[in-house]
């Protein structure tokens, strides 16, 4: 037989994906191509959309909140792009196995392939959509007539890696659960809506700390402080958003920011820990249950 199709990695394992790396490339390319092919605005649309949302939200929230955030549009855009990536990637991965039921019933392919291709396509999409952020920073550079880009911006690669690993884990978990329980989709949508409000996307953590300090002064239990700590330690999405801002938004604003905006080693350790924990859980659940998929799809 030809030298092709020598399967280097064990059937059913995560690494089996590497036997199919060309297929992964094909599937990702297909998703990207189909998204941008034959649509009038094409790439422009994926940049325009976040910009428009940013403009509306900036107008609404700068009027609404008393606690001011420096350069709110950039702050908001950083948070939104990162969260949008986690949300769309996991949401698409959720239906990936059930949507490919007909294919899985007919041929053998590593089942990890389907959520993986969706998450990777979303990641590429996320990188494309950074164009909106670049445009925004260029606009402010002209406004302040100095370049607001810095070498710190390159640090977002670390954030992308963390979020990508985290999204894979969550995506595999959801994809596997969705095979057995089709209403996971609705539950997950409710959870993501809640998640948006817990991720400090359009407000800043400063309000919690101010309130907490006030509560301590008054001698009452500082619930606001507890809430802030809970978000900072238990919400991986916020950890990634915070890091992303630390690389893009903080260097622009400089030293005048309050303490909550700055990251330290703890944030990166936590970020990677959550990513690998989620990844391990997701892969383990998917692996254990994949042989039963065929009976339920």
């Amino acid at each position: 037989m030809t030298e092709e199709r020598k399967h280097k990695f064990k059937e059913g394992s995560f690494l089996e994906l590497l036997n199919y790396k060309d297929l992964l490339y094909q599937l990702v390319a297909r998703d990207i191509k189909l998204k941008y092919r034959r649509s009038f605005l094409g790439y422009v649309w994926s940049v325009l959309n976040p910009l428009l949302i940013m403009i509306i939200m900036s107008i609404v929230f700068t009027m609404l909140f008393t606690k001011k955030t420096e350069l709110f549009p950039i702050y908001l855009m950083c948070g939104r792009t990162v969260f949008e990536f986690i949300k769309t990637a996991t949401d698409k991965a959720l239906g990936a196995v059930t949507d490919n039921a007909s294919l899985l019933k007919k041929t053998y392919v590593s089942k990890f392939m389907f959520p993986m291709s969706k998450i990777t396509a979303s990641m590429v999409d996320f990188v494309f959509s950074l164009g909106a952020l670049v445009l925004l920073i260029i606009y402010y550079s002209f406004k302040y007539s100095r370049s607001l880009f810095s070498f710190w911006d390159l640090g977002i690669v670390i954030v992308i890696v963390e979020a990508y690993i985290f999204a894979m884990g969550l995506g595999f978990l959801l994809a596997a659960l969705n095979v057995f329980f089709r209403d996971i989709k609705y539950i997950y949508h409710a959870i993501t809506t809640m998640w948006v409000y817990c991720s400090a996307i359009f407000y800043n953590m400063g309000s919690f700390y101010d309130k907490g300090a006030k509560q301590i002064k008054e001698g009452t239990t500082p619930y606001a402080l507890y809430l802030a700590k809970a978000i900072e330690y238990l919400n991986p999405a916020y950890i990634y958003i915070k890091q992303f801002r630390a690389f893009v938004w903080v260097p622009i604003c400089g030293r005048k920011l309050e303490a909550w905006a700055f990251v330290d080693a703890k944030d990166f350790i936590l970020g990677f820990a959550y990513a690998f924990l989620m990844f391990t859980i997701g892969v383990a659940v998917f692996r254990k249950s994949q042989d039963k998929f065929i009976l339920y799809i």
Binding site: R30, T107, F181
Partner: protein, 281 residues
């Protein structure tokens, strides 16, 4: 590596035949609370043994629902056996579901690459054979047309050409394979015979004993998931035919009986009617 190219050892496949399939959390919890979570076992295959040496051609016969396609699915790794083991030492090309991975939104060119990759080949490997595939499928003029605009015949041609781009070690063929027009079907048959002559192992599913006898030298007869007979094709095919004939005869007899009864009843009713008429007069 053992001497067998396909080694199916005491394979049992189990399905859940519960009356309703529970596929959401809400129902799951309701049933859990009500203690109605049932598992009705259904064995699609029971202790099936099949050992194939390289170069043999096996026919798998049996009536509908006897487990033929389940067996093929187990061999092509789609289904995992509940008990027993399956070993396949070679590449499998399955011509049961042609073009399973065809995406209607993509063009023929893109689909050839996508399908090749689904079958486990690398992009480079498909690229090397691209011209060959296109030539065989006779779709040169439609390479950049989205497949959704293709006729079903064109789609099957595309699927067949990709599936047979290399000589596989094991070829799985369903008899009801309908690929395009007569000419193309002949081309497919030629290609398959060519492969067989080259020493490819064949697994053939069919209801037609004549074609089976022509193509295969061995046979496996399944009935309700159990092996009835397995071995040389001649005696099995004959035995199978007699059983089928017997069953047909039985069915015919039963039908005749039923018809006679019906006729009798109809006569009785008519007689009654006549009597009533006579009485009325």
């Amino acid at each position: 590596m053992s001497e067998y190219i396909v080694d199916v050892d005491k394979v049992t496949v189990r399905f859940n035949k519960a009356s309703e399939n529970i596929d959401n959390l809400k129902e799951y919890f309701v049933k859990l609370v009500k203690r109605e979570l049932m598992f009705k076992e259904f064995l699609a295959l029971k202790d099936v043994d099949l050992k194939i040496k390289p170069g043999e051609a096996w026919a798998i016969i049996g009536t509908n629902g006897s487990g033929k396609s389940t067996l093929l699915k187990v061999i092509s790794r789609i289904l995992k056996p509940y008990k027993g083991s399956v070993q396949v030492n070679g590449t499998v090309a399955s011509l049961i579901e042609l073009g399973a991975g065809i995406d209607p939104k993509l063009t023929a060119r893109e689909n050839i690459y996508l399908n090749g990759c689904i079958l486990g080949y690398s992009k480079k490997f498909v690229a090397e054979r691209f011209d060959e595939i296109v030539e065989f499928s006779e779709l040169e003029d439609f390479l950049d047309t989205p497949v959704k605009n293709f006729s079903s015949g064109m789609k099957s041609r595309l699927g067949f050409s990709v599936a047979t781009m290399v000589k596989p070690d094991i070829l799985i063929v369903d008899e009801v394979l309908s690929v395009g027009d007569v000419l193309f079907r002949k081309k497919c048959m030629n290609k398959m015979n060519e492969m067989l002559a080259d020493g490819t192992t064949l697994l053939f599913v069919s209801h037609n004993m004549e074609t089976c006898k022509n193509m295969c030298d061995h046979a496996l007869w399944l009935n309700k998931g159990e092996v009835v007979m397995s071995g040389e094709i001649e005696p099995i095919a004959n035995e199978y035919m007699t059983t089928i004939e017997e069953r047909k005869a039985k069915e015919k007899a039963a039908k005749k009986k039923k018809q006679k009864e019906l006729e009798k009843k109809a006569k009785e009713i008519e007689e009654k009617k006549k009597k009533k008429k006579a009485e009325a007069e």
